[in-house]
Chain length 323, copies 2
């Protein structure tokens, strides 16, 4: 099942079910006005949404209409919680080598609490205050959970995954370094993330959803040139482990979004990177200095994931603009 | 005006206006079902809530009833954003001396993004997994903002303050130290905060609301013994500056809660502290070692603020229990 939120008024958009080929949609009227409302009452909403999805695929859903991704908001235009891991060891080890950013607790994932009151629509411009902040993208997979009780273990946690998403975790590297030094984590360095228009139930990924990981390439294009195509299967900690880490001392509420961190593979010199910081780190290792600059206003970044040639989540395709 | 959310079903409670003496309340039916809904449409809701508050004070509000704080949730049982500063220099300087926790950027407030999808009801038990985590309270003032645009300056930001709250920012000191070392900030160390039942408009504080600070004592009692009575007026950065810091690279949404950090005064040896970590720091300075332990299951902490002898926010009064 594929779900999206259309920009039809209100801060949370209107929930629609989208066809597998992303061409048609039907409003979830009478089931749930918003995706958050569906997640808050998933046991009731899910079977009804599944029935609507089946009708849409069969061509029997009344009032179906053409799906226009330009009218889509993020699946959760605002979410109650966004916890972002850093689960790809290739990325972590490179950052450790180059910037001295180390995880002193290797048995635990790195994770930060990010802002969640806004996820930017997939084709909306991204306003940021200044290029001097070192504007970077981070291509990530993410999952949306149901309610998860404090102390839930990793295996049980995996069963609480409701949806999978594609996220661009915008990062400002200059304030980021300063904020890391405080130990308090990131506020100014982590403005709103963007999200691809479609959230999918894990079964939509077929065999590519395995071991709590998404075994698909995250295609990143910067100003029309391929920048990265790293595979999500290389996560060192799976999503179940990330959820369990997050839930050690707190309940998670329905609609919590858990991010993988920048998707990164050991062969990053071949497959490329999902963020500029990683590319710069490779340059520092190989050439002694970073030569790739960060983003400029007017630059575009596009992220998409294909499965059997079909776009899974739709595309994030955005311009960075002066805010 | 005083507002609260009663536990009448639903995840967000039901908005009520509460009388100045906290004895009577009236539902905001027909104005806004929830406090978040009122904040989302404040320009429309505020004058109507003010009229209802005036009627309640005049004894002419129909359907007014006795206000029972035991039935109150946190004013925002879940909020879209919680950003907690560390704005009291006395506390910061002590932590720096004792634990080497320094702010390398003295011109900027320290701030972290905390979990906001749940604020615990003021008299509910607080379930935590283990005493070994070093369970501590942190008494804080907080403000609730309206929508704040990215780049808003501190003076303008102050005008976006809608409500003032009293918060206990529960802190787990053992995972807290480890998480600070990662630079990613706190996840496991910062479970859900608790909040006093009443949120008030700043005018309710009279002359005690000045310079973007709350010049009132935050009374903290641990197991019935006074632990601290530090004054909120000593904030090194005012709430306008904290909001502006938060909004440098992001819009803030209506219902954002910004915390002051642990309320602390230079004469903490006289007035006491708002968290155990500070008391322990003083002991380490004065006696060479901390002798006060952290909280045990079954312990209670009470927080309240008086203004002209009247409780402003109602009390937080909770037991810590094994979760």
């Amino acid at each position: 099942m594929k779900l999206a939120s259309l920009d039809l008024g209100g801060r949370d958009g209107r929930l629609v079910v989208v066809s597998r080929d992303l061409r048609r949609a039907v409003a979830a009227t009478g089931i749930a006005e918003t995706l958050q409302a569906a997640l808050d009452d998933w046991a009731v909403a899910e079977p009804r949404l599944l029935a609507l999805s089946a009708a849409l695929e069969a061509g029997t859903a009344p009032d179906a209409f053409a799906f226009d991704p330009a009218k889509a908001l993020a699946p959760l235009p605002r979410a109650w919680q966004w916890l972002d891991g850093s689960a790809f060891h290739a990325h972590g080890e490179l950052m450790a080598k180059v910037f001295g950013i180390t995880n002193p607790h290797h048995d635990k994932p790195l994770m930060y609490q990010g802002m969640s009151h806004r996820f930017i629509a997939p084709t909306a411009p991204v306003p940021l205050p200044t290029e001097a902040d070192g504007i970077d993208f981070e291509g990530e997979f993410a999952v949306v959970t149901g309610d998860v009780s404090m102390g839930t273990d990793a295996d049980t946690a995996r069963a609480h995954i409701r949806l999978v998403m594609l996220v661009n975790d915008w990062s400002l590297r200059v304030p980021g370094r300063a904020e890391m030094e405080t130990g308090f984590g990131w506020v100014q360095a982590k403005p709103a993330c963007s999200a691809a228009p479609i959230a999918v139930t894990p079964d939509e990924l077929g065999e590519s959803w395995a071991d709590g990981r998404i075994h698909l390439n995250l295609l990143v294009d910067w100003n029309g040139a391929r920048f990265g195509a790293a595979n999500g299967g290389a996560m060192g900690f799976c999503f179940g482990q990330l959820i369990a880490h997050a839930a050690r001392t707190r309940d998670l509420c329905a609609g919590t979004i858990i991010g993988s961190g920048t998707v990164s593979n050991e062969n990053y010199r071949q497959v490329g990177s999902s963020c500029i910081a990683e590319r710069r780190g490779i340059e520092m290792l190989d050439e002694g200095a970073a030569r790739t600059g960060f983003m400029r206003f007017g630059d575009r970044v596009r992220m998409e994931v294909l499965h059997d040639g079909q776009s899974v989540f739709g595309a994030i395709d955005q311009e960075v603009v002066k805010g």
